[in-house]
Amino acid sequence: MSDETNTPVLEVSDLHVSVGGKEILKGLNLTVGAGETHAIMGRNGSGKSTLSAAIMGNPRYEITSGTIVYGGQDIAELAVHERARAGVFLSFQYPVALPGVSVVNFLRQAVRAVRGDDVPIKAFRPLVKENLKILDIPQTFMTRYVNDGFSGGEKKRLEMLQMLMLQPTLAILDETDSGLDIDALKVVSTAINGLRSEKRAQLVITHYQRILQYVTPDHVHVLLDGQIVKSGGPDLAHELEKHGYEWLEKDAA
């Protein structure tokens, strides 16, 4: 990463991404500075999840042109785990189950991988405990198998637990709010807000503005058919809530 404080955490330029030969992102531009929280809003199928997958490096998504620059470095050639080690974190919309792999083992391995060295159990345990408390997760969670038989809310809490343990520079939250009741939403929002700092950045991807009542974004962007068609401040989210996405579609057409 560059030492210059004004280097954006993330700079996406003219990004085109295809899945299975079909172009989903069609020239997307986005700059996220350090200390900022951006919300990406859009309907299903607009390309929100494709954007998060492209930044994380999911091999199923092909970047046909454009660049993703993270911390001043083009990350096109970096493997998924290298991006994670560089400080990129994706909270999955649909996290997969890992039967037989306990949460505690999984967390330990992830922390070790991302930090590059082992964390002594003495330091690891209190850290887990503290984060469990923030997320209102019982201790019994730790010996369960990762996402195996988890409810939707439990899965999202586990994603947040991982985020708090890994302390990413760039956190992408892909519809972390979907399917959560109000209490869970508050807990998740607390976790996200707790991680905000002048060095970190966050990309909150959502369908609804509900989560934005708890996590106030610095910038809001509307994604439509693979492009950002409108950007603004927090007010834009309220406007979308009132008018829906249709008025933007008309504008774009």
Partner: protein, 481 residues
């Protein structure tokens, strides 16, 4: 068990140095020039006679051996399993009896230096000090060391090598030897009965519970060696015992044969758990017959892990002959390149309200082949019996292969049968998820594989579970991508 790496101390017995590969950790071999005795290659009545006389056995045992040899010579090779590999075994090119040392030691210091070094490299005496109730170590054909904790000896527990068992408890051995697995059972059981040497003899008296495991460790050193240990375990009424065996061999260019026979007798209300971690080098044919008789209210558990060998054919069996007896067979087979693990289980329900749970996990990679072969038979009159079979296969690439041959023969209607089989591949989504948390592809795959066999590892004593996880990690390194 998958959280071993988190909570459990490192450097436990038998795990040191597992970061090395098989060749440096297990694949070394010792100089044989000081060996006490090595039979000529090939097997005939002369060799059988020689083994029996050498061991100063009673006449009845000598006759058992000769009769078994006739059975072996007259029986054709099995026409199932890996017939191609079976037919490539050159029985004339094998030493059937090899003795490195003249006598058996009860004090570790008395074990010959070279043999001692071998077992020390494998962590055997260290393991004994730390977590075992008793140990036998078999080197080539003979047990070179054995010990049993004094308190257990005082309770009447017998744990010795089979040859000593025959000398000191001849009546008991005569009554039970071949009572569970007769020589006629199959070609390899016949061969073992003819040339057997070593193995364990265990007797646990009524009501005695051996709380910590007894262990046997088997080591082949000579090239073209045949190891034919014979084990007999009798758990008397209401007793409880856990027996563990581990095995390794050097990596040679030509093949060795390991053909054991293990007979278990579980008297009413007793529990026997028999755990195997088979890690032979990839030039060993591992053709083993294991069977238990389970009487009323008893419980027999086979915990069977197969990682090594060129070909393994092994189907631990339980004959449930008493009401309410229970069989538990939990196995893992890991097949890599040039390996075929043809493993499975066999349960015979021959009494009412008997129950069995069979769980098989197979992992194949780099063109390895895993086969599950199982038989469950429920006889008429075994009403109220319950059977649960679950076979899961995990394929790590497209070149590898997995087959399942479950056979069910049910002659009673009042029983409950559950059967489930799955074949899956390591999912791209799982890999992506783990890699997004910083794990590289090897580490991610290892974690998925260790998760897959977690139902197995959680049944192992801690030291073995750690060792197994690391062996798998070793197998996975550089495996993919």
């Amino acid at each position: 068990m998958s959280d071993t790496t988190v909570d459990r101390p490192k450097g436990a017995a038998g795990t040191a140095g597992l970061g090395d590969d098989y060749d440096t950790k297990y694949g070394f071999h010792d100089d044989e020039s000081a060996y006490d005795f090595k039979s000529k290659k090939g097997v005939d009545h002369e060799v059988v006679e020689m083994i029996s006389r050498y061991k100063k056995e009673p006449d009845w045992m000598r006759e058992v051996r000769h009769n078994a040899l006739d059975v072996f010579l007259s029986k054709p090779m099995p026409t199932w399993g890996s017939t191609e590999l079976l037919n490539s075994i050159d029985f004339e090119n094998i030493h059937y009896y090899v003795r490195a040392s003249e006598r058996q030691a009860q004090d570790w210091d008395d074990v010959p230096e070279s043999v001692k070094n071998t077992f020390e490299k494998l962590g055997i005496p260290e393991a004994e000090r730390k977590f075992l109730a008793g140990v036998t170590a078999q080197y080539e054909s003979e047990v070179v060391y054995h010990s049993l904790r004094e308190d257990l000896e005082k309770l009447g527990v017998i744990f010795t090598d089979m040859d000593t068992g025959l000398r000191e408890y001849e009546d008991v051995v005569r009554e039970h030897f071949t009572s569970v697995i007769p020589a006629e059972d199959n070609k390899f059981a016949a061969l073992n009965t003819a040339v057997w040497s070593g193995g364990s003899f265990v007797y646990v008296p009524k009501g005695v519970e051996v709380a910590i495991p007894l262990q046997a460790y088997f080591r082949i050193n000579t090239e073209n060696m045949g190891q034919f240990e014979r084990t007999l375990i009798i758990a008397d009424e209401g007793s409880k015992v856990h027996y563990i065996e581990g095995c390794t061999a050097p990596t040679y260019s030509s093949d060795s044969l390991h053909s054991a026979v293990v007979e278990l007798i579980a008297r009413p209300g007793s529990t026997i758990r028999y755990t195997t971690i088979q890690n032979w080098s990839k030039n060993v044919y591992n053709l083993v017959t294991k069977r238990a008789i389970a009487e009323a209210g008893s419980r027999v558990e086979w915990i069977d892990g197969n990682l090594g060998s060129k070909l393994t054919m092994k189907y631990p069996a339980v004959y449930l002959v008493g009401e309410g007896a229970h069989a538990e067979i939990l196995s893992v087979a890991f097949s890599s390149s040039d390996q075929h693990q043809d493993a499975g289980s066999k349960v015979i329900h021959a009494a009412p309200r008997t129950t069995s749970v069979i769980t098989s996990k197979s992992i194949s990679k780099d063109g390895g082949r895993g086969t599950y072969r199982g038989l469950v038979k429920v006889h008429e009159g075994a009403e109220g019996s319950k059977v649960n079979v679950k076979c899961d296969a995990l394929l790590l690439d497209d070149r590898s292969r997995s087959d399942t041959y479950p056979t069910m023969e049910v002659d009673d209607e009042a029983v409950s049968i559950e059967h489930e089989a799955t074949v899956s591949k390591v999912g791209e989504e799982q890999l992506y998820y783990l890699m997004s948390r910083g794990l590289d592809q090897d580490a991610a795959t290892t974690l998925i594989v260790n998760g897959f066999i977690e139902p197995f590892t959680k049944e192992l004593p801690m030291e073995y579970a750690v060792e197994l996880n690391r062996l798998i990690q070793l197998e996975m390194e550089g495996a993919i991508g």
